[in-house]
């Protein structure tokens, strides 16, 4: 029993990481039908931007600020203007394929211009463990979990309580109608991309001390986030969070009780089962738009 609790806590901590990455993924899909196969690399890159700033002699806090700004510029604005905008009107697939190429390009660029080695990354959460109800939990895991919860609360509040949020929701549900009733659809879509860029930068900051800064660290994350988004339902912030947490927990439980060799299989089988019996995802609504 104590073992099970341990596994649950650890699974939630990993799941929170997936969840953070999945939220942005889901937002992009919702507002602009962008399936971003480079989402994992989007999490990998900000850490390197921050490291680069630090190598130039800046202190950590400045590197964080500059890193986040650079992410907004490159992964938010740049991504939207240079890749998404020219391709969006040609359907989902060409853009999805282009993001795959982008993922390759980003990995290779980091490897070539930085290093193929994993670099350690300073943690904003102090390293160490705390004891909660007799369980030893690392502070870093708690930090990630806390941030994931904060993001859900923040995003839900933004979407449901503010007029900008309502406009974003309208954009996501039906851009044509939204435009007619006077929502600045283009600006709303850009805002989503900026939010995603901000989220991946935050995720990068929290995850990299655990995963290390490495050019390839986005591969696993990206795939896990994709699956988490589908499992949770592609159209709800809390769905993506639930999907991420669930994948993390299931992964740990299956490694402990099924087979370590097939640990990656159990979440996938779960995915297939969910698609068969609840195609809109665990917390999702049925898709209103035909794709």
């Amino acid at each position: 029993m104590s073992n099970l609790l341990d596994l649950l806590v650890a699974g939630l901590a990993t799941g929170a990481i997936y969840a953070l990455v999945a939220v942005g993924f889901m937002l992009l899909w919702q507002t602009s039908q962008t399936i971003n196969f480079a989402q994992g690399e989007f999490v990998m890159l900000p850490a390197f931007l921050m490291l680069a700033v630090m190598h130039a002699g800046a202190p950590f806090w400045l590197a964080i600020i500059l890193g986040i700004l650079l992410s907004l510029l490159l992964l938010g604005l740049g991504f939207k203007l240079l890749l998404v905008d020219p391709m969006l009107r040609h359907g989902v697939l060409p853009l999805a394929i282009a993001t795959m190429a982008l993922a390759i390009g980003m990995k290779e660029a980091v490897k070539q211009f930085f290093s193929a080695e994993a670099s350690p990354f300073p943690s904003i959460v102090p390293a160490g463990d705390v004891s909660i109800l007799g369980r030893v939990v690392s502070l870093q895991s708690l930090g990630v979990l806390a941030l994931a919860i904060a993001v859900v609360i923040g995003l839900t509040a933004l979407l449901n309580r503010t007029s900008v949020g309502h406009q974003m929701q309208a954009t996501a549900q039906n851009p044509t109608v939204a435009r007619i009733i006077g929502v600045p659809v283009e600006r709303m879509i850009l805002l989503t991309f900026l939010i995603n860029a901000f989220l991946v930068a935050l995720a990068s900051l929290l995850i990299t001390p655990i995963y290390l800064a490495k050019f390839s660290s986005g591969e696993i994350l990206g795939q896990a986030a994709f699956i988490a988004a589908i499992v949770g339902g592609f159209n709800q912030v809390r769905g993506a969070i639930a999907g991420g947490l669930l994948i993390g927990v299931v992964d740990n439980l299956s490694a402990a009780y099924v087979s370590t060799q097939y640990r990656a299989a159990v979440p996938l089988i779960l995915l297939i089962v969910i698609i068969l019996f609840r195609p809109q995802g665990l917390l999702g609504r049925p898709e209103e738009r035909t794709v």
Binding site: N3, D6, L7, V9, A10, G11, A13, T14, I17, K107, E108, K111, S115, A116, E117, A118, P120, A127, D129, V136, S138, I210, Y211, L212, K214, F215, S216, S217, E219, I220, G248, D251, N252, L253, A255, A256, T260, Q261, R263, A264
Partner: protein, 378 residues
Amino acid sequence: MRSGFFAGFLLATVSAAAAFAQGAPIKLANVAELSGGGATVGNNWKNGIDLAIEEINAKGGLLGRKLEVTHADSQSNPGVARAQVQKALDSEPYVLLGPGYSGSVKVTAPLAAEAGIAQIMGGEAAELTQGGNKFLFRTSFGQQSSMPKVAKYINDELKAKSVAIVWVNNDFGKGGRDVITKEFAKYNIKVAADISTEAGQADFAADVSKIKAAAPDAVFVYVNEEESARMLKELKRQAITVPLMGETTLVGQKVVELAGDAANGARGHVGLTTDAPVDLIKAFREKFVKKYNYVPDHNGLKGYLAIYMIKATTEKMGKVDAKAFADNLHGLTIKAASEPGILMDVTFDEKGDIDRQGFLVEIVDGKQVVKQVLPKLN
């Protein structure tokens, strides 16, 4: 005026003749995992090669000729490795270097053997040198020679009767796991838990809880450096206190850097490490860090050694002869006293396996401490 012209003419002729005597550069071809899952391995290997070549060329080259290497990327994919080795062999290099992944070595070794070109590679799987290939050479211990030493230590020194094995599920990890399982059987050591992990895995909670449930006398950890560090942290968090035993990848400086306190007490057999208490290796490490700005893992050493193996063999032959190269490297002993680049005395046997000094080390207060030196066999 006229004599001046003449002298100039003479000088030009002499220098042209000198250039001619130097000869065309000696061509080497490297095919390695420069991208994909093995990129860390391949880039270390490549950097080691480049460093050694730069050194040799700065000192006038090999037998007066410069060394030149081409690097090709196998994308960590055996199919691509095969194509690139084919391409490399079509250009008739003196020696073929790489690849590092055992699977890629397996698919390319017959090609090099068919072309009669020696292949110096980084793979560690036991079976590579057991198929009677006369052109294939290792740069490090194969698992068939390192694992028995680990098993012996676990039996003799740790007196463990049951051991949990944690391995990374790729050809490196699986190979080591298979060999050591056989060795354990010889000592009647029980495998209490047999845990496969994924490359790049971040969360080891479930794996460690399995170890905890199995309550072994010792844990054998055979995963890459980054995962080793995460594993050690998790072992500490779940308060597992039995001895931890591993290989080069468990007790390297990089693991200590990443795992901090949690690395203390980890022990391992080390064949080739930049932390070895050998002056020449320390010097190598400094040179490498100066050039590339990071501390290499054992793959950096392997690439470096591969080039000095070529140098020593060629100097022994006294000529650049691709056909005779493999024959001359078989049975060759290279002494660090006469060829400092080889770092430690080494002997190559008829199969292309190496014999060299090894170490048993333990991490004490964040430092690697050599507990035992395992001498070279002959």
